[in-house]
Assembly symmetry: C2
DNA sequence: GTCTATAATTTGATAGAC
DNA sequence: GTCTATCAAATTATAGAC
């Protein structure tokens, strides 16, 4: 994967988290990176393919982060998930990519919708296994729902304290 | 407000809940209602104005539903909110309008973003007052976040049991 | 209130030169 | 890997007739 392709993934991720799948164009990416629209198509022939690649990378990176934190000695897995969501919002004030695309699922190309479905399935499985015991799946779903919803509300109100208050009872 | 305008609000609400603000066009609405694109502009001069009207009506209707349920004798306000969200999803399999637009806030015209911010502020205030007591605001935020996130995940995975499991502990 | 017609712009995508 | 040039289609929006 070339450096330009990496930068395109980064930019596309940023745009999707800000305004959704239909909230940016190839020309936006091209102008921000200093190339032309046609050159973007050289790296990613279709917009759907680009978005699917962004989603896959996002999921992989998220789960790698969780695994690294767990290996680093942090034992409370819910705290790991909570800080992963919170730091992403605090850094750039944007939504979770999975949350944005999940919300507009009905308008997505099928290959993108499938990646988002996988995002939630993989996170649910991972968190459930790390929690362990009876009812761990239900608990994982509740934690993920609260984190996604809290992020969404913080985004909509522009107030990170919304996230902190909504998720305080999780840890 | 004419019958055509009402139908346009209904259709626009449906499209937004399915695919977001940029997921439909005036021509979509026109063709589904059996008129021409220009006639839509007669009722709603701009797309931003239409979406803002949809959001305002959605918020008003939601809070009216909650008040009616409370007046009808249902005492558990969290159950009222939970069933309001659940029935909306079960009926047509779509997201909460506030949730969809909240997620893509960064790409919205300012007048629409303001209506969505109001949606969350008004629901938080209403639920907080109905819960009452110390920590009721924090509790209201947690409940709303869980419901929105659970709906988002049910939408992304296409599985309503995701909503049920994620929100089971609320009631 | 609806229509035809059209403007002005943007979009996703392709062909072919360098 | 990037470019110029371009296409075909879609978009939001307006003017003016009926």
């Amino acid at each position: 994967m070339s450096g330009t392709a990496q930068r395109l993934l980064d930019l596309a991720e940023d745009h999707i988290r800000n305004a959704g799948y239909n909230g940016f164009s190839f020309r936006d990416l091209a102008s921000e990176i200093g190339i032309k629209n046609a050159s973007v198509h050289h790296h990613f022939p279709t917009k759907a393919g680009l978005a699917a690649a962004v989603a896959r990378r996002y999921t992989d990176r998220f789960l790698t982060f969780v695994a690294d934190q767990a290996d680093s000695g942090e034992r409370d897995v819910v705290s790991i998930y909570r800080s992963a969501f919170r730091e992403a919002f605090a850094r750039d004030g944007r939504m979770c990519l999975g949350g944005v695309l999940g919300a507009e699922t009905g308008g997505l190309p099928i290959e993108v919708a499938e990646e988002i479905r996988d995002f939630f399935h993989r996170l649910t499985d991972d968190l459930s296994k790390r929690i362990g015991g009876r009812g761990s799946k239900k608990q994982a779903l509740r934690v993920l729902a609260t984190l996604e919803g809290a992020m969404l509300m913080a985004r909509a109100t522009g107030d990170i304290s919304t996230f902190d208050q909504a998720t305080a009872a999780l840890v």
